[in-house]
Amino acid sequence: MREGFRQAMAWLHTWAGLLFGWLLFAIFLTGSLTYFRQELNRWAHPEVLYQQAGTPESLASAQAFLEKHAPGAPNWLIIAADERLPVLTLYYRQTSESGRGSLVETVVDPRSGEAVQARDSRGGEFFYRFHYELEMGYPWGRWLASLAAFVMFVTLVSGIITHKKLFKDFFTFRPGKGQRSWLDGHNALGVLALPFHLMITYSSLVIFMTMTMPASILSRYDGNTRAFFNELFPATAGMGDTAQRQAPMLPLPALYARYLALVPGGQVGMVSVDKPGTASATATFTPKVGARVAYLPGGGVTLNAVDGSVVRGLAAEPVPQRVAGGFYGMHMGRFAGPVLRWLYFISGLAATAMIGTGLVMWLGKRLLKHAGATVQPFELRVVGALNLAGMVGLVCAVAAFLCANRLLPLALAGRASWEVRVFFLVWLASLLHALWRPNGAGWLQQLSAAAAMLLSVPVLSQFATSRGLAVTLPQGDWAVAGVDLACAGFGLVLAWLARRVWRRALQARAEQAPPRAVRIKREAH
């Protein structure tokens, strides 16, 4: 009975893992990259001279810019500058003559108060959005990503049950022993980082729980989910005087001082100003996301922007909300400092590698049965091609995306979309190449291509932009230099892998050569 159960779990682990493996690999790799989203954003816009500014100074810059460019807008949203990405991001709704508003996003230098001029690129935002939306449009991508997360959870749990000697083999890794080593590696990556895997997978389900599992909300609020969200995130609109009289607004630095009096030491992540310039204007100060582990959006202090009185203080945080926010915050790791951020990134890569080793093992086990055959079964060829394109092909696509940021002409219309197109075209090309050569030669060629592209990134940064390593290293600009150096590092790792694949191919050829010669001789007779 017990063995039967374990076998059933092993079957589930094998097939659920195979079906969703490639998608999960992509989600985990882009998710790991997202931990350096701000750094990638800085790297992607090398023209911008990032300079740190104090909160009052940067809020004053934001207000001056918005009063000049969006005086009549119904609301302003100011994403504060922080150490990792020291620019202000401003959003406002611009009402055209037809009455339909369009949302305008502007990036502003917190010191000069001028709009930042930079190349059109999505940078780290691309990986971030791809990680949970898969470029599929709302809501399909989110549903597919949630389904993948659910399957990931199932494979994790079934994997733990399948693993016979979890504690006995806890420290075991025997390299250089073929399938045995792959299984050891898969187990070690899975078991040693298990807390991370469980946390990241479970929290991803928590993040989209209101979308995927709305039953409790629907029954409690009679099918009106909007009412639930209104209660969770109370709107600040229409809270003050409803008259639309014009009235001068207090300077944001003064309002910020009021906020600090209410919340001593409070760091601001976002300020939203409702009905600026009118007598009913309010300013809502939302705490910085990275200031604590839990991520609880929608909180904050609302002040009357004309006289500075408190409209709404800090809301109480019910325990369930804090628990959900804790999972959300731990998933994103916005609070993490440099060391913890790298550990997050490495754990993410460990999860990616765990999925990759699983996929390699699925195929390796089945290929062994056809070791002597000249033609492999069709389904194994397909899985082999998908393995190659899904793993190395994706790395090629990421590398090409980074190269495109440096190489595409700055004046190209729709430049940011072209970068994304380059990503998908390279991925598609790698799939076609993989279908043509789903074997060692294919692996060697794609690994070499990815390594070459990644190694070229710092060179391109040096010669195609003004912020190459020769500039960023002496300046200590580790965000930009780090991306270049990491690209070079991963390029070297991939080159090493390519070399290993090449040597193994040579070895295999040397071993296979005699029988093949005999066979050809026989055919000739």
Partner: protein
Amino acid sequence: MLVSALLCYAGFMALCLAMQKHHASLVGRQGAPGLLRALRWAGWCLLGLSPWPAMAAQGWAFGLVQWCAVLMASAGLLVWLLPYRPRLAVGLAGVCVIAGPAGALLAGFG
């Protein structure tokens, strides 16, 4: 965070040495049952103590997350070093045993 990491690594190494097959390959001879039991106790004690430095320095929320991170990282480093550089792996644990508590004391008094 660093002190926690040192304690975690030393703890995992003690637990690793408490297993006969690893003990034999790392030390070169079979371990006495009493020694293995003592190592197991020491390992669990070190791991049990390891969250405190991080939590004392960073508060329970940040500290706990950091502890989880270094717990995984130290075990990963250990398992990766074992087949390639076994002597370095054991030596590092020796350094951790001394530096970990020393760091904790320094942080406590400093």
